[in-house]
Symmetry: C2
Subunit: 323 residues, 2 copies
């Protein structure tokens, strides 16, 4: 850790990151290397959660936990690094649903979670227990214990649950609108963490389907505005007009009527935003949003060291912006 | 097939086998090789069924189906031959229940069954679909769609569910009594099959915990007695005073107050029994039960050919006895 980044890490007693899946998890992993465990709380999107084979799947929660535990399959972006697919093979032999790839080790997570949910244990308590068992030391909170389902209203194929649209239909049906079915209370600890946070980091996650579900929960926007000044520093998920992963680049023109850019993402977050971290070269479009502070740097995370470096730079930038 | 056994197979239009797990499944496999598919119905014990990891496990049904599909692990006596245990490893990593060994491929069965049960599909319909998908051509019926749980009342440890006593406690607590919690209707097809059967074969399964649960269901004994004469031919699960597999040799003295023997098993079935197949050397003890017809032969099944040979001999013996 450099002197500057050590300083940045010490500048914040409480950092909250809101996160979707892959991109979010990568920056969160970096933050977990830079901050002491008690200083980091991650609030994870559960709008993508769904039932498959009768099991409760929480893709973003698992991606974040597996990534923090250094067990994730980094290149693939989902599931565990050391994985096999024997159960899936047998399901295929039974002629049953094999469109969603669940690995054998990954299944343990879904099976135990589903069992405990049926026993009445809240998702947040289950997540805390499983994360701890895997050695995760910071706090990981699913955004809510109750269901909030991201639904994709398409132009030609009606309304599809997110996973159906994303995995089974490969994001091909053109998006008209995103809505959330269900508006559960935020999970215990979420509003307090947001209210107390010195800085709220939005990693490069999809604003519409990863961050907005969290922002849609009762009390979340108020908690973010508690201190009376903008505390969000976002890392742009758009690099050179493209999304590193996922369907965001096509969603922005469809939903915001603007080209995919860091500026479009910044506009989306509006007054809550205290600063924006973008890929060098992408800062131009943000000039129109002045006086929004912008850090132009390398934001693409290909390794764990990239993640830690970006986390350090983001915190140092936040420390300056929020001084 | 020899001329004699071909004749025996043709002598019966409808054979019903009642079955527990391993020993039962082996003879049932033999019967399936000797009889045309439409002539064989297997009614399988579900008293051992239980919930594990929130999944509905039906150990005897699965052993019978896997064995009939030539997918069973023959030596081990449970699960699939080609199996891995990655999910179990991960469950262990989570510090959760790892006392019952569920394989990755096997899990597909429990997962799909549990999902369909929760959707309201009866166990019998689920079993039919899964068995068919694995290529099983004869009829396999779980004894009931509703729960009937075998409970072991022990001398010193209170009452234990069967699997807890059998697997987790390794049958160590001494049995005082066996009882069945729940008395559901027999599954669709069970009573008709029993009423119509030319012969009812009891393979070498444990009478107390594999066969009695089936006999305890409403209407089953009446259906067995429909034709007014004994139609059961049983293969003794006791060979030379020992059980080939499982806790039967200790259960007979505890529950019947007699030494473990083929005769004790024959007495247990009483007037329903038309004939008994025993290991050569074990027929002596049965003399006191004359005039019960007895076939002394080799009953230990170590290979699929052993199973088919014993099935042929049993049917030929039944054809003589029931002539």
């Amino acid at each position: 850790m450099t002197a500057e980044s050590a300083l940045a890490a010490r500048a914040f007693k409480k950092v909250v990151a809101l996160s979707g899946g892959v991109g979010g998890a990568r920056l969160v992993h970096g933050l977990s290397r830079v901050l002491p465990p008690e200083a980091l709380t991650v609030v994870v999107n559960t709008g993508d959660d769904f039932e498959h084979w009768g099991l409760h799947i929480a893709p973003d929660v698992d991606t974040v936990v597996y990534t923090l535990a250094d067990l994730a399959h980094v290149e693939r972006g989902w599931g565990l690094a050391d994985e096999s697919f024997a159960t899936l093979d047998m399901v295929r032999r039974y002629g049953d649903d094999a469109w969603f790839q669940l690995g054998d080790r990954d299944l343990a997570t879904h099976i135990l979670r589903t069992r405990d949910l049926q026993r009445g244990v809240p998702l947040s308590a289950i997540t805390a227990r499983l994360a701890k068992a895997l050695g995760v030391t910071c706090t990981v909170l699913p955004m809510a214990d109750g269901p909030c389902r991201t639904m994709i209203e398409t132009e030609a194929d009606g309304t599809l649950p997110f996973q159906t649209w994303f995995v089974s239909r490969r994001t091909e049906p053109k998006v008209k609108r995103v809505r959330f079915d269900g508006r559960p209370e935020a999970a215990p600890g979420v509003l307090d963490a947001l209210a107390e946070a010195d800085v709220i980091v939005l990693p490069p996650s999809n604003p519409y389907v990863s961050i907005d579900p969290i922002l849609s929960l009762p009390g979340v926007r108020d908690a973010i505005l508690t201190k009376g000044h903008a505390r969000i520093v976002a890392v742009s998920p758009i690099v050179g007009g493209l999304a590193i992963k996922g369907p965001l680049a096509e969603m922005i023109p469809a939903l915001a009527g603007a080209p995919a850019s860091a500026a479009a993402v910044a506009k989306h977050y509006g007054a809550m935003l205290a600063g924006m971290v973008v890929e060098t070269g992408d800062e131009a479009g943000l000039a129109s949003l002045a006086p929004l502070p912008v850090l132009a740097t390398r934001t693409v995370m290909k390794s764990r060291d990239d993640s830690a470096a970006l986390a350090r730079e983001t915190l140092a930038f936040a420390a300056k912006v929020l001084r």
